[in-house]
């Protein structure tokens, strides 16, 4: 099938819902692994969860959130669900990481240790460990059960912008403003590899592919790259969007064909076809840089969140045939 054919058969996403529960800029949006919840974090120090059923209908009235999680003393930069969707973990400028019980919205644990803003956080697939990256240039691995910091990795020489586990939890990838992506052995905390290119623009985002073989790297030179980290070679480059200031997250969409989805500083959400690298759609609607995107694990739904001038989370659904 030629790429033109697949472009023609691509059904565009349309805006189906706008959620305006937050009072300040959105920092991160995530779907739970069972697909039933959407969570968002914001500079207004809170997290909100919404049920999928309430956001997937195209009512004119925006749905109200399921739960509101309060407790952080400063704005929240990142949040993520555990694998069984029972817990949420959030990273905040108050230098702490909080572990929340989702159904009751209570804070179960507060992880203290970082000495500067905690910027990114993630669970391992077994959800017995949490990895976090902060402006103190370190990456910490925490035990979920006790909240103890198990390891401190001297990861980078600039703020750490993203951390991710691979699908079996054996490796961690980290990225930083110092222009490097590093791969670490999760069980020992030893550095396995550093990915270096000729030019090293600050890396704003990194994430493993679903099968753990490749990493998607976003850099502040308006480019997204797909690397094979074992060989150290770049496989794909995606351009067309704007990303030179903020740490914009991107994701893979695999529910209906393979796409890369990313936010952009021109207030749009970009979708590229994975193989051909062509931009298949630009989702317009936000009025400020789109800082975070998430793709639903099973449905063809994308969620996006934008900065202070906009403050909304928008839900985009692919048209049914």
């Amino acid at each position: 099938m030629s790429s033109d054919q697949s472009l023609e058969s691509f059904r565009p996403y349309t805006l189906t819902q706008t959620l305006n529960g937050h009072l300040r800029a959105i920092s991160s949006v995530k779907f739970s692994h069972d697909g039933r919840l959407l969570a968002s974090s914001s500079a207004d120090k809170t997290l909100l969860t919404y049920s999928l059923s309430s956001i997937s209908n195209s009512d004119s009235t925006p749905p109200s959130p399921l739960q509101k999680f309060t407790g952080h003393e400063q704005g929240v930069s990142d949040l993520v669900f555990s694998s069984d969707s029972r817990f949420l973990v959030s990273a905040s400028d108050d230098k702490t990481i909080r572990l929340w019980d989702v159904p009751t919205a209570t804070c179960l644990k507060t992880l203290i240790g970082h000495t500067n803003y905690v910027f990114c956080v993630n669970f391992n697939p077994q959800s017995n460990m949490i990895v976090s990256g902060a402006f103190d240039e370190t990456v910490r691995i925490w035990d979920v059960k006790t909240g103890k910091c198990l390891k401190v990795l001297p990861a980078h020489s600039d703020p750490v912008t993203a951390v991710d586990f691979n699908r079996d939890g054996t490796m961690i990838v980290t990225s930083s403003y110092d222009g490097l992506c590093r791969i670490w052995d999760a069980s020992t905390g030893h550095c396995m590899k550093t990915l270096i290119d000729d030019e090293n623009p600050p890396v704003s985002f990194v994430k493993f592919s679903p099968n753990g073989k490749f990493i998607l790297v976003g850099t502040l030179d308006n480019t997204l790259r797909l690397w094979n980290y074992s060989t150290g070679k770049i496989l794909k480059t995606y351009t067309g969007h704007t990303n030179s200031k903020y740490c914009i997250s991107s994701t893979f969409s695999v529910t209906n064909g393979k796409y890369i989805v990313s936010g952009s500083e021109d207030s749009c959400v970009y979708l590229w076809e994975l193989q051909s690298r062509k931009v298949v759609q630009k989702l317009e609607g936000h009025t400020d840089p789109v800082i975070s995107v998430a793709s639903h694990p099973t449905e063809n739904i994308i969620a996006s969140g934008a900065l202070d001038n906009d403050r909304t989370v928008k839900i985009w659904t692919q048209e049914k045939e």
């Binding site: 572990l99 644990k109 017995n128 006790t146 550095c191 396995m192 753990g212 070679k233």
Partner: protein, 496 residues
């Protein structure tokens, strides 16, 4: 998977104690198949399951009825069940995920070792080696036992080996006899007090082959490697012997039957010895000729390349590591406490040893930082190298080409979804493996939350206790508690 960067079955051996685990007095240990969980039987009858990745306690299996010391602990093949044998003559089968007892059987003698049938994920049979009688097969669902023959009957006496609950040669044996299943559990290998290895078909309770061990000393341990290809015996003559398993891994019994048919000898000891010579071939013998040490708890490494054994001398904690070819590569020395159990991690070069005090020591490689991993263009040198400059090293380059860019073919298909089979997947895996127990976070006690040290594993302390939290954290409105002494917090009652 990630084969190029991290070798899934890492070679090499550990060198130093990295950490130790403490929870009551532990007596025996067993890793699950992937080494993500470590089960330890304690002297108070409970079984602790450690999450080996976080070095914290994942679950405690405790039964009111069993308060005697645990003598052995064994996982089922995919980690769903654990069988413990205790000093009160009982065997208890646990469901790991639920933490519930499935069944408890009391035998006539204390089993020193109990092994679940390795062929299925919910085994109903187990092999128990009691303190001073022949090993037996126990049916866990009915509780019935069948004693295995431990000696080939004398043909002249005309006594045929009997089955149910009678000793086969009429005399009560006086030393514990070692036994183990082969990889798929269709055969049992017994090492008896006459220094013979018997290959037994446990379904028909018949000895099919006999391998006499040179020296004819009492065999204390008999263990297979994880891949089923090597067998080791530990004998009273202070020698460990390694055998190659010549039978096929699957359907070993059928292969035995074929071998038997192919030998034109009347049934008897001689025929069994001939069949035996086609089952096992002696590969190497290990002994310490200087100290003439007795060995304890010998076992293979996960990949079968190394053999370890502990010194049985009291008051010293020494672990000998040989490669399979027989060279002694290392002696690990721990604190001056006797060693009572030993296990090699299935995947990593990590050894776990239990000392008499009840602590579990974790031995790992002494890591030296690989600097090239941090900076790829950094090359580590063993010694000084004379650097010779290139002709054009200091030339001003007017054409600074970046040839690299044009060479990348970005049109190649990339598959981001397909997953490689990992080193552990067997073709006959029907049920999902239990690799980890869900971690439920212990809710913080408000105030002094930075000091909540739940588990009792001692690490090189990296805990950075930051500033105490403000009132916003005290959501429950509970009065401020202390909760900072490690002993108190050790009793973290949040196992689900």
């Amino acid at each position: 998977m990630n084969a190029p960067i991290i070798d899934p079955l890492q070679g090499d051996f550990p060198e130093v104690i990295e950490e130790y685990l403490e929870h009551g007095v532990m007596k025996c240990i067993a890793f699950n198949r992937r080494g993500t969980l470590l089960a330890a039987g304690c002297s108070d009858g409970s079984c602790v399951i450690w999450d080996f990745e976080t070095r914290g306690i994942a679950k405690v299996l405790r039964d009111k009825e069993c308060v005697a010391a645990i003598t052995s602990v064994c996982w089922s093949k995919y980690g769903h069940r654990i069988l413990v044998s205790a000093a009160d003559k009982s065997l208890t089968l646990w469901d790991v995920l639920k933490g519930e007892k499935i069944t408890r059987i009391v035998l006539q003698q204390t089993p020193l070792q109990a092994r679940l049938h390795p062929g299925s994920s919910t085994p109903s049979l187990c092999l128990a080696c009691p303190l001073s009688s022949a090993p037996m097969i126990v049916d866990l669902s009915t509780g019935s036992t069948s004693i295995l023959p431990i000696a080939v009957p004398d043909v002249a006496n005309g006594i045929a080996p009997s089955s149910r609950n009678k000793y086969s040669d009429g005399t009560p044996p006086f030393t514990p006899t070692a036994a183990c299943f082969n990889k798929y559990g269709d055969l049992v290998y017994v090492g008896n007090s006459k220094g013979e290895i018997l290959v037994i078909d446990h379904k028909s309770n018949q000895i099919r082959a006999l391998v006499p061990v040179s020296g004819a000393a009492v065999i204390k341990n008999i263990v297979f490697s994880r891949n089923g290809q090597y067998l080791l015996t530990n004998s009273n003559d202070r020698t460990i012997r390694i055998y190659d398993n010549l039978l096929p891994l699957k359907n070993g019994l059928e292969a035995l039957v074929d071998i038997e048919k192919g030998i034109a000898e009347p049934n008897g000891i001689e025929k069994m010895k001939m069949v035996g010579s086609k089952c096992l071939a002696l590969f190497r013998e290990f002994q310490d000729s200087i100290t003439k040490m007795h060995w304890k708890a010998p076992c293979f490494s996960g990949d079968g390349e190394w053999v370890i054994a502990g010194s049985a001398s009291k008051g010293e904690h020494k672990i000998y590591i040989w490669d399979r070819a027989g060279y002694l590569v290392k002696i690990l020395e721990g604190p001056k406490e006797a060693l009572i159990d030993l296990a090699w991690h299935p995947v990593h070069p990590i050894i776990v040893s239990v000392s008499l005090t009840g602590w579990v020591y974790i031995w790992a490689k002494d890591y030296t930082e690989n600097w090239s991993a941090f900076a790829p263009d950094f090359k580590e040198l063993e010694e000084n190298e004379e650097y010779v400059e290139r002709e054009d090293e200091f030339d001003l380059n007017t054409e600074t080409e970046k040839v690299k860019e044009s060479n990348i073919n970005e049109d190649e298909e990339v598959d981001i979804v397909a997953v490689d089979k990992d080193a552990f997947s067997d073709s006959d895996m029907s049920q999902e493996e239990l690799c980890f127990l869900p971690a439920i976070p212990c809710p913080d006690v408000p105030e002094r939350q930075g000091k909540c040290v739940g588990s009792s594993s001692k690490l090189m302390d990296r805990n950075h206790s930051g500033s105490p939290l403000s009132e916003e954290a005290m959501q429950n409105g509970q009065a401020a508690n202390h909760a900072s002494s490690p002993l108190e917090v050790k009793v973290c009652l949040c196992d689900s």
